[in-house]
Amino acid sequence: MALAAVKKAGRLPDLSKVPAVDEVGVNERVARFQSRSIKKSSKVEALKLILSMIDLTTLEGQDTPGKVKQLCQKAIHLHDAMPGLPTVAAVCVYPTMVGVAKKALEGYDINIASVATAFPSGMSTLSVKLDDTRMAVDAGATEIDMVISRGAFLAGDYRYVFDEIAAVKDACGDAHLKVILETGELGTLDRVRKASVLAMHAGADFIKTSTGKIQPAATMQVTLVMLQAIRDYYKETGKMIGMKPAGGISTSKLAIHYLVMLRETLGNAWMTPEWFRFGASSLANDVLMQLMKQSTGVYQSADYFSKD
């Protein structure tokens, strides 16, 4: 079965052709995005866009149906005191919680994302990973966030990593596949770029930075390198790939700088929840506080915004 999937996915790209990345240059470019000053209506517009791009996430060993239901409630009712807010793009949970989320979100246009493939370490056999994926999809997940086998990647076994992604993509059926590179374990931006290229060629619909379980999680630096890989892939194939930085993005200011980076790297076509997501648990409330401040002119307290 896996073999057929691989055939569909196409060929393992020649990763030696992937351009080198210079860390200091990337840092400088990121600093330049961060020097953009986003004010007034462009800020409000950005904040709303950020809300709509959030994958509201709970991925803990202590997750219960109760916790997931509360999270879904928050996804629907971000802050009812403010009319005209979008909903988040998705809630993101473990496979065993997909059913709970599905029920809670019935009738709402919010996607259900599930991590799979022995998240977060990915240390299991392919068949277990595929079962994990199918189980989540069968339970109603519309998006699957898989992890790559970092050990195999670091050992240079690109073929293994490629085939695994292709097989999971096949198991996803109609569900969108987000491929988590776990950049905090890849060590260098050169590897981030290579892993991005590999994942896109293997069938990823999205590439995603991190599980949130490893530090560092998303940084603007790794996200920039992944966006550049997406751009090159688009120019080469005409195929758009989505991007999801996850973990560590908890303030509006930082999220706005991600949007600046997205806009100046990939352009307007990617500035929608269809092509860009934030994997975050506490970002939404900070964005809401900022939106409230923009409309009232008064600085806000966390006590007035629901935590779920």
């Binding site: 210079d22 860390e23 200091v24 240059g25 840092n27 060590g187 260098t188 931006l189 050169d190």
Partner: protein, 288 residues
């Protein structure tokens, strides 16, 4: 009675690109001793001789600059060895040109010692004058010396061997090539020194030595667009003005070494090397 042997007179020629041609102009001037006897006919070098020298110096320069510092040091040392071996000849030539025996011996000895001194600097001056610069950003930054390139030298009129050597040695120790105009009134040692250079593994074109009239060649030395630096060792304000005025046409570096007593120990110093060096600073990011 056996006939007295006829001495073989030496022909003094110029030195360009490792060869000893006569001046292309065919002109010469007679060099006389104090009593008015002609010692030798000296080439009256022309602007074309100078031009040819610059071509030779330019083509030799990259190779000479690339030679290892160790090798340059060995070659300078070799020059000193060869000069030592021909010590008597140089003493005699100086005397022929009016220098007292004692002064001539001292000058030759000092010239040899100065060569040894600069031979030793070849692989050290870079360490003294370079720097690693602690810039605030994440970059490795260092400054090193590089030779200016082709240096035109108008050698001292009076100190015709020591002064000549004191100007050539630091220039070539630093990887430059040069064209030297010998003392007009005492040109013999310069030509003989060219022979020493020739026998010392100095690659052709690294040092080119012309004889001739300063009044005729100063403009050429200062104005040539393919010369990077000009050193002048004599002359008053008029010469200084003319040299710098013409040098400015290609922003040539101008080094004035007037009124220098070349016999002083103070001339043993690496700042003479630095005079014909550029500082190059290189930046590179530090990252993964």
């Amino acid at each position: 009675m056996a006939a007295k042997r006829i001495a073989v007179a030496k022909t003094y020629k110029i030195y360009i690109g490792g060869k000893f041609p006569r001046t292309e102009s065919g002109r010469y001037f007679p060099l006389e001793d104090k009593k008015g006897n002609v010692i030798a006919n000296i080439c009256r070098g022309s602007r074309k001789d100078f031009r040819n020298s610059v071509v030779a110096a330019r083509s030799a320069q990259p190779g000479w600059a690339k030679a290892s510092a160790y090798l340059r040091g060995q070659i300078l040392y070799r020059i000193a060895e060869m000069l030592e071996g021909r010590r008597e000849q140089f003493v005699a030539e100086l005397q022929q040109q009016g220098v007292t025996a004692r002064a001539a011996e001292k000058e030759v000895d000092q010239a040899i010692d100065r060569l040894i001194y600069f031979a030793g600097w070849c692989d050290k001056y870079q360490q003294v004058f370079s720097a690693v610069n602690p810039v605030s950003s994440s970059h490795f930054n260092f400054s090193v010396l590089e030779p200016m390139g082709v240096v035109a030298i108008m050698a001292p009129e009076e100190s015709s061997l020591l002064g000549l050597v004191s100007n050539i040695a630091p220039a070539i120790a630093g990887g430059n090539t040069c064209i030297v105009l010998a003392s007009e009134s005492k040109p013999l040692c310069a030509v003989s020194f060219a022979e020493v250079l020739h026998a010392s593994d100095v690659p052709g074109g690294v040092v080119n030595i012309l004889t001739g009239f300063r009044s005729e060649l100063t403009d050429q030395f200062a104005s040539h667009m393919d010369v990077n630096a000009v050193i002048y060792c004599d002359g008053g304000k008029a010469v200084a003005t003319k040299v710098q005025d013409l040098a400015a046409d290609n922003i040539k570096r101008v080094v004035a070494r007037t009124r220098v007593d070349w016999s002083k120990a103070d001339n043993d110093n690496p700042y003479l090397i630095r005079d014909t060096q550029e500082v190059k600073t290189t930046w590179h990011p530090i990252g993964t």
